[in-house]
Symmetry: C2
Subunit: 422 residues, 2 copies
């Protein structure tokens, strides 16, 4: 077989894909060889087995990993990366005692980002977004799901999704777009909410679908945002148009969002801090991937994390994501989310890695393409300057990624300048 | 006046030094000019005032900050950076439910690092330590206090301190050494503890003092390590030899360590999770700086943080440090500690910055030299790629430092390679 990319002497740490809807196994392969061709993995073996059948192309990239740890690139399956301006003042207000709800009521929160985004051109939004994508990529993430949702008007939702599509075109990171017109009810529709829901369903959605601007449709289902009835209406319309479904569910109260995800066959239900055992059984029955966002709990100064470990033990392939956004979690680093998941969700490092790679790929319907280092998968991987995969969540707060590979090509290298005297 | 270093158009965010033992003021100077000569700050002014009296030397470094934020370099006043091998397995054990105390009893914890360090040569220890110092420096820290304490024998404690001295010589980061022979009672002395205390006092201490290997002496004062009587004996001996005093106090129980610090006039008392209002008054009366280490609480999966905000409100110049060490906090990043301090100690960003700069300088007796951007201070500073200082703890997990300056010289620059397609 032909190959244009070859890793040798790698310590591969990877989940294994499964046709069943169950938590994936996680394995370590010592002295591994991995070959790829035209972006796909074509060969994986242990003990540096020489694959006589591998025919290296002349310009092939060959990397001796010297025993270093190699993992799949992270899949960040829940992010809000398109926004203009930042909200560090709200961070300070929260630290000084204001709740997220109080800040939202006083004009902060999502609506602050909505006001800002209206002022920004597509070019400005893209220019602000690209360095964020650099940070995702340089910390080992090779694919993100990216939501709109700070537009809340036909023009601004389309603008946001167009920025995501353009970023996907120009940046090495892969972006999978989600339409989140139902992120909040805009101020001008507070007294006629159903008109806004009609706008989302009858105007925004068909445009997004016709222009192929998003794979998924998402709703913020919460009693003070879109209730279950409203969410059902929006998601059912999206399903009828062929969107995959996602939902922000049971984050602040138990209001039935997770059950709705199961009822409609959503691909994922996200947050779930207040979900119940009954919800977990529904998700199992309907193969809805639960997506945990522990960063937002941490950053909001709360302490009720989703019962992620119990969901995992009940047989669900639990995914974890950053929830990167300017209000409730402003960090692109997936290694840091792994640390938080170990400390706060009590996931082992292996469970955390599985959650941010293969399970996360399932949460964006890419389980057949992404999230494991197996033959026929995309050659998206990270070479780490660490002795073993457990070290990554342990030594946190500094970037330990050494080389990031996307579709068999090196897209980032940590080339620290010689800056010290020694 | 002569200058060989000049910053223009800077947004300076800095505490102001004070002769009083009180929390320092924190100010922002817009459009600031800062000049330095031979490593010291010689001029600071607002509104880009042209300092006609500044005589720039020919080879002077001039930096236009374009409005970017500039802060003092961080002073990390409590670290344990000399060790061999790492303890990621213990991190996994803790996540799976073992307590730190259980891990320590089964041979893990400090003693695991003691066993490892004995096997390592000075050259190996130094080679392992230098990349850690790189990470401190590249995240904005320009001075660290560095403790021995994984030796616990004459030979290995001296070896550790010699490595710190050598690192200080070869690396741009400044290291201030602390002798921590009383970090733990070694296994071979468990039945004759007083012999180990004699060894520390009569053999180690005079050698350390004669060879000028440390400024400070520290003790881990805790009922199951060195009790108050034992700690008093050790610290009194150190004081008699001329060491500055530090103490790990009231971390796991309230056992009188903070009161002891006040009694002996220690420079700092560190941890203090279980300290009381009476202790705070004692610290105020004796001018002992309280050092908070919220990272260790976070990383150990505990939730009882020191009552740092109340200490600050009672008039103490509260310092914060990383506690960088291979067991209970494996991160060199001070910005991340600022985020944790905001979220967990409820410090405002300004209070957090003050705690990790000027108050931290007080905690190592360097308040006259370090920790503020004022005339006569060392020109240790960080230029950040952020709109304001509040942004730094808000956007966390990725390194936002752009340029780090130590004694008026650029020692680190973030020169990210062009790795993306755009």
């Amino acid at each position: 077989m032909k190959a244009d990319f070859l890793l040798k002497n790698a310590q591969l740490a990877t989940p294994l894909g499964s046709p069943e809807f169950v938590p994936a196994k996680f394995i370590v392969i010592e002295n591994a060889v991995l070959a790829a061709h035209r972006g796909k993995i074509v060969f994986v073996a242990e003990n540096n087995k020489e694959a006589s059948e591998i025919e290296l192309e002349e310009s092939a990239q060959v990397i001796d990993c010297n025993g270093k740890t190699v993992t799949p690139g992270f899949v960040d399956c829940h992010t809000h990366p398109v926004f203009h301006g930042t909200r560090e003042d709200e961070f300070e207000m929260r630290v000084m005692g204001k709740t997220y709800e109080e800040i939202a009521r006083s004009g902060g929160g999502i609506k602050a980002s909505v006001r800002s985004l209206k002022q920004a051109s597509k070019d400005e939004l893209l220019a602000e977004m690209l360095p964020r994508l650099d940070r995702f990529l340089s910390h080992g993430t090779t694919t993100i799901e990216a939501k709109s949702g700070y537009g809340l008007s036909v023009e601004d939702e389309l603008k946001s999704l167009e920025v995501i599509c353009e970023a996907n075109r120009v940046h090495s990171l892969d972006l999978v777009a989600t339409f989140l017109g139902a992120h909040e009810v805009p101020d001008e529709y507070q007294s006629n909410r159903s008109d806004y829901i009609d706008l989302v369903i009858k105007e925004m959605m068909p445009l997004v679908q016709n222009q192929k601007l998003a794979d998924f449709c998402d709703v913020f289902c919460e009693s003070h945002v879109f209730n279950v009835e409203e969410s059902r209406k929006i998601l059912q319309a999206a399903k009828d148009l062929g969107f995959g479904l996602k939902i922000h569910a049971d984050q602040l109260t138990h209001n039935g969002g997770t059950a709705l995800a199961a009822e409609l066959g959503a691909v994922s239900a996200d947050h779930l801090e207040f979900s119940t055992e009954k919800d977990w059984q529904d998700m199992l029955d309907s193969q809805v991937v639960p997506v945990m966002l522990p960063g937002a709990v941490f950053f909001l100064g709360k302490d009720r994390y989703a019962p992620a470990k119990r969901m995992l033990e009940s047989g669900l392939p639990v995914a974890i994501a950053t929830d990167f956004n300017p209000g409730t979690y402003m960090s692109e680093s997936m290694p840091l989310i792994c640390t938080l998941s170990c400390l706060k969700l009590k996931f082992t490092p292996a469970q955390a890695f599985t959650a941010v790679t293969y399970h996360a790929a399932l949460a964006i319907n890419r389980g057949n393409l992404l999230g494991t280092l197996e033959v026929d998968k995309e050659a998206d991987l990270v070479i780490w300057d660490v002795p073993n995969y457990k070290y990554i969540p342990y030594h946190f707060g500094a970037n330990l990624a050494q080389t990031v590979v996307k579709s068999g090509k090196i897209v980032w290298k940590n080339e620290s300048p010689e800056y010290t005297k020694y």
